[in-house]
Structure formats: structure tokens, C-alpha cells
Subunit: 77 residues, 2 copies
Amino acid sequence: MTKVATFYHAGCPVCISAEHTLVDLLDKSIKVDIVHLGEHPDRIAVAEVAGVKSVPALVINGLPLHINFGASLNDLK
Amino acid sequence: MTKVATFYHAGCPVCISAEHTLVDLLDKSIKVDIVHLGEHPDRIAVAEVAGVKSVPALVINGLPLHINFGASLNDLK
């Protein structure tokens, strides 16, 4: 079964580094949707509902995994 | 090539949840060494040298990825 994950970031160096490291590690059967919240602020609300508090974060099966610490969602609004 | 990663945790609920979620997602070619720092405090120094500040964390290719926030390493000493 193909799993779908969403990686939220804001274009910061911490985010880009985490994205490259993590997305490379994931099982190739997982389709990762990468969302730049700085460019798509309309998706911040969706991220918040999924439990995302900061970026970079990976949401999979409805569970948010916060990776390192780049920026609080509140700083992106 | 087989990659080797180390997942550091301290047995807390946040750690166990992150472990199950993340380890399931990783590419199956990656061998993950799982270290419970509460049971192996001698490995805290190794984790610190790798840049780990808190657990749960995954270290891969020398890069630490801090996952959510369970406990500061200082709280485990």
C-alpha cells in the first residue's frame, strides 16, 4: 500500500537540511507531498489541525513528527 | 549500500511513539541501532558528540534529527 506523508517547511536552512536528510531515508513506497508554508500560507490551518506546531515537520498517518526546530507556525502567519 | 542510523530514546511515551512511526517509515535498507539512554547512560556522551540535544533523536550520516520533544539529555544524566 502506498502511504502518503506531508512534509511542511518554510524554506529555512534547517528545513531544507531536514527535508533532504529525511526524505532520502524514507521508504520509497511513501509518496511525500512537500509544502512550503511561506509560499502557501493558506495551508497553515491544515497543518495546525494535523497537530503541527513548528516546521520542519512530517505528518504521516495523521501523526505529526517535528524535526529539529526551524520556526514556530505562529511566526509564519 | 546499507546505511546505518542510530535512534536514541529514553523509554518515554513520546519516544516510543516516534520510534514506531519513524522506524516503520524508513527505507528497509537502513539498519537502525536503537539505544535506550536510560538503560545505557554510558552512551549519552556519544550521543552528545553527534549533536543530540534531546530524545527521541535519529542520527544518520552524522546528522542529528530531533523528533518531537521527549526529554533533554541533561535530564537523563
